[in-house]
Symmetry: C2
Subunit: 227 residues, 2 copies
DNA sequence: CAGTACTGGATAGTGGCAGTATCTTCTTAA
DNA sequence: TTAAGAAGATACTGCCACTATCCAGTACTG
């Protein structure tokens, strides 16, 4: 199909398709002449994925390129999963300069907290993981706001995060050895977050409403509570 | 204190402090003369909160202003919680035009799925909640990618989201009737998400690594699994 | 009490990002 | 053979989050 039809099928303007090609998110079409190319279903699917990663996943164009590169280089199942896991940008990277006084101290303390949490959860994660630094920075910032995010508190969240990750990986593993693995894996790894965030917001809304009406009854009605 | 000291204490450039004032995120200092003002600890704290909401929470300046306005208008505990819950921006708002054919159909079907999910979870949420539309749009997009996010699948995530929301609200409720309630509430409601996302990514990393080494052992070691 | 440094406020400028538009050269179907 | 696209290169736009400059007014300094 021509680029105009690709545009029509996906709803992405021609100029944007060209832009994605320039930025390396979309492979070129099969050239049929010096100045003509043919696009196929894989381009349609790729554009859908690009849109999902950017609008739902909130990824930048640059991050999307990196993630898609990992998808394309998929060799083994594990390698694919790992590559995608690292290609995804770490939310919360840059923090502030702050008053810089004992920044190093606070940073080190926060990182130690994270290390302890990881040990408590029995997670196997290399010290070099960017997520460790990200979480440490987040905790430092929260601590500065007098928010109570001590490790004991965090464990409850960590256990829920663990359950979510298990659900995610189960879903990704279902596509093991399928050619669609890499694509489904990136969907699961990159888009579960935003979806979960929406569910969390809905659940929060419910909790807030319950407080409003029952007010001083922290217990719940029938039919809820996981497990 | 003068603006320069406020800047030094918080690490925020003077020009940015002025910018935040202009945008209504930061109240003006107490005027001591026609062209001089005095800032206090509340300004320091407010700047910390602004930084946390923008860098950790990923909120835009406009969204931060709205959230802070809700914090400042805090009257009752419940009102505060509700105002903040609605002031937070909905991730995933704008979607695509797409091929527009049966967009309306798909949209309606997705929204029905969400309604069914909410009923199944026994959540009390008004039909007008922006999160419902947001989730519906997210599901439609995922469905288009052939990702398996049927309601049955979603329930498992929803239950976990419910648990998280309960943890969050418990923490916020601990500050009930405290003058810091609104502030702590906004921290809990707005910043739990990013923190959880980091934890989820760490947990994902662990799961991926476990697959790599044990490969075909989906069961786990000791010390994990929530409840 | 002059000089300098600093202040709050208004306004203008900057840099990055994600597209969007234009221009030129080519291809092809009517 | 000519008008309607197509492909690619390059330039432009709009938004956002700052950042810099300018101005009149204040305050410490010696």
């Amino acid at each position: 199909m021509k680029i105009s039809e690709l545009s029509r099928r996906t709803g992405v303007p021609v100029a944007s398709i060209k832009y994605f090609r320039r930025e390396g998110l979309l492979p070129a079409g099969r050239a049929t002449a010096a100045r003509l190319a043919e696009y196929g279903e894989e381009h349609v699917q790729r554009l859908r994925l690009i849109k999902a990663l950017t609008t739902l996943g909130g990824l930048s164009i640059a991050a999307t390129r990196d993630v898609l590169a990992a998808v394309d280089q998929a060799e083994t199942t594990d390698g694919t999963l790992r590559a995608i896991s690292y290609a995804l940008p770490v939310p919360v990277t840059a923090a502030s300069a702050g008053d810089a006084e004992r920044d190093a101290d606070a940073e080190a303390a926060a990182e130690a907290d994270v290390t302890r949490l990881i040990a408590a959860m029995d997670w196997k994660i290399p010290d070099t993981s960017p997520h460790i630094r990200g979480l440490a920075m987040a905790l430092r910032e929260l601590r500065r706001l007098d928010a109570d995010y001590r490790p004991e508190r965090l464990v409850a969240y960590a256990e829920l995060a663990h359950s979510i990750a298990r659900l995610d990986l189960e879903r990704a593993a279902a596509f093991d050895d399928s050619p669609a693995l890499a694509e489904q894996a990136v969907i699961v790894l990159a888009l579960s977050g935003p979806m979960l965030e929406l569910l969390r917001r809905l659940a929060q809304e419910d909790q807030v409403r319950r407080r409003s009406t029952l007010d001083d009854n922290p217990e719940e009605g029938p039919g809820d509570g996981p497990r």
